[in-house]
Amino acid sequence: MIYTLIVLAFLGFIDATYLTIEHFMGGIIPCTTGGCEAVTNSVYATIGPVPISLIGAFYYLSVFVLLILVHQEKKELYYKIFLLIEAGAFLTSLFLVYLQLFVIGQICDYCMVSAGITTSLFVLGLLFWRKIFPLKPIEQEVASV
């Protein structure tokens, strides 16, 4: 289970890093939807001089490292931090998809893939939580009262 999450975070990292590199090297991105240029050149693609893809790359890298820590240290605290980051990232992704669909009116493949990965990380992260860290018996008793 934890491996699935680690692989997803790694794929997200590749996706965001690719967009960041293209941003700084000034390339035109190969695109199947025809909307990548419109989205990645829009005013919403950067916060000041920082492209959103760079923030995304850091986010995926942090989550990737955090998940390896969870795997190594078996500490629930790390997993909770991961879930907290994911909740924020999920809301951010929703907002970015909204911008693509309703404000810019164009879709960018790489951005939609990233939104899909973040949604999967969040949903799977919640589903796997109690499987990776089962409740202790005493907590279960309290919970059932």
Partner: protein, 222 residues
């Protein structure tokens, strides 16, 4: 596995991904034309061309969609090429309106209608330059009409031609022709019949044209 070697492995992996991606991006921007897919369709009498047909040594055929933002990004690059190689480069525009762009077919028809009055390329330029203005309107005919007036065309004739089914038929037949040549995205460029992997900067686009010119010079001197 010890903790140190695990984290060393993770670091190597992450740095490796960044380096490999940078190399890939760099390579694809340097390469330009990787695939030797040839264009099966020769120049037709109905093709719109810019440049000197008699003196030009190299032909650049573009399949494009007036509503596609990437095509609009390439528009100034192609114009710059035309400016830099006025005698050696023949530029051909072929319609390839994509289904997700609702006003693309109408825009192609507008360019053809302007072409009937001898101003295809002028309308072509305006459509790309003002792409964001007309892309999202529900009925762009009025805007296209205003561009026609701006270009000094006969407005009534232009409005009538917008409804001419033969123009839409021409647009569709060029698109079908593109499909036959395996065009599946826009813009798709063929330089002397060879399909280009879209260059990522003006410099690499120019380099491709210069290479093609050298090749043409060599083959003509042989």
């Amino acid at each position: 596995m010890s903790k140190t070697s695990l984290w060393a492995g993770v670091t190597v992996l992450v740095v490796g991904v960044v380096v490999v991606l940078m190399l890939l991006v760099k390579m694809s921007s340097d390469l330009g034309s990787g695939s030797a897919v040839s264009l099966k369709t020769a120049l037709a009498a109905t093709d719109w061309t810019r440049g000197s047909a008699s003196s030009s040594k190299v032909t650049l055929i573009e399949y494009a969609d007036f509503q596609c933002p990437a095509c609009a990004s390439y528009h100034p690059l192609v114009k710059e090429l035309e400016r830099e190689f006025p005698n050696d480069l023949l530029v051909v525009y072929r319609h390839f309106p994509l289904p997700q762009h609702k006003n693309a077919v109408m825009a192609s028809v507008a360019a053809e209608a302007a072409g009937k009055q001898g101003k295809f390329w002028e309308m072509h330029d305006v459509l790309f330059e003002k792409q964001t203005e007309w892309s999202d309107v529900s009925d762009p005919k009025e805007l296209f009409g205003s561009y026609a007036i701006f270009l000094g065309l006969n407005g009534a004739q232009f409005a009538a031609d917008l409804l001419d089914p033969s123009l839409e038929a021409k647009v569709n037949s060029q698109k079908l022709d593109g499909v036959k040549n395996n065009v599946n995205s826009t813009p798709t460029f063929f330089l002397d019949g060879v399909r280009l992997v879209n260059p990522r900067s003006y410099a690499s686009f120019k380099e491709l044209v210069v290479d093609a010119l050298e090749k043409a010079d060599k083959s003509s001197s042989n």
